[in-house]
Symmetry: C2
DNA sequence: CCTTAAATAATAATTATTGTTATTTAATAA
DNA sequence: TTATTAAATAACAATAATTATTATTTAAGG
């Protein structure tokens, strides 16, 4: 895995401890955390970090294409350091969000293009259901 | 088109002028309005209507399966009286949201089922791009 | 009509997010 | 290495969408 400092610098972003902490954290989890969760997980080791900085930093990262924002219908946005377009599955029971392989839906985009007169740029594909754990617990 | 009163009654919902107004409005538009927009469009003819009632009514309708909530990444939710699962295209320029035919993505669901151990219940497929009007204006 | 449970209006409260500003700091040049 | 400066941060205020509260009103059934 490439060094966070290099990655930030490559995007022309000023390298700060806060940015390093946030990007490193995001790129090491598959939990798709929201701003609050990121903040709480970094607070212990970065006692002066403020939530507003987390929000602003995430905005910067998104604008630079370093991360993507995820809107799965919850009150707050989630974030993903994997920026290749890929679908997500959301557990309606425990809220877990998992990645689905991107290549599985390649031709879907072409289909969508045929169906509208839009010039499509991106998509958000979210599937809702019960994860294996919740599925078994309720039954 | 079936009478709104019948539709509400069939779902076991108490029939009130507010509910009639909101459902009738929603089922006659393809604009996918949010709560605020619904409220403002009904205010002139329903002067005592309150925004909180719009929100609560939309919740009731959603819970009864009369409408669906749409989350296209904006701050506020949009609503759609068409409850058959279908994808949407969102213009990143003017914010317009249009429906895509549902049947075009039938096998997509099967694909998604194969890819996870989730038991899938629904999905939200949103495509982002520029609508034909915006596409031509900027270029 | 009467009764009653449920819906509404008005408004307060909450929550996620964004704006403001004084202070600090990373990057660059001297 | 140090000085300069534009940008980032922390702290906190403000905003906007949504939800909660409560007194009042009303639809539905008897």
């Amino acid at each position: 895995m490439k060094d966070t400092t290099q990655i930030l610098r490559a995007k022309g972003l000023k390298v700060t401890p806060q940015r390093i902490a946030i990007y490193t954290m995001l790129s090491h989890t598959d939990e798709h955390p929201n701003a609050e969760t990121i903040y709480r997980s970094l607070e212990p080791t970065n006692p002066t970090l403020s939530l507003a900085t987390v929000y602003k930093t995430l905005d910067f990262f998104k604008a630079s294409g370093l991360i993507q924002e995820l809107n799965v219908g919850e009150a707050s946005s989630r974030y993903d350091a994997i920026v290749t377009r890929h679908p997500h599955a959301v557990c309606t029971c425990c809220g877990k969000v998992v990645d689905l392989p991107a290549d599985a839906f390649e031709e879907l985009r072409h289909r969508a293009c045929e169906l509208t007169d839009f010039s499509l740029e991106s998509e958000q594909l979210i599937f809702y259901g019960k994860c294996s754990k919740c599925k078994n617990q309720t039954q």
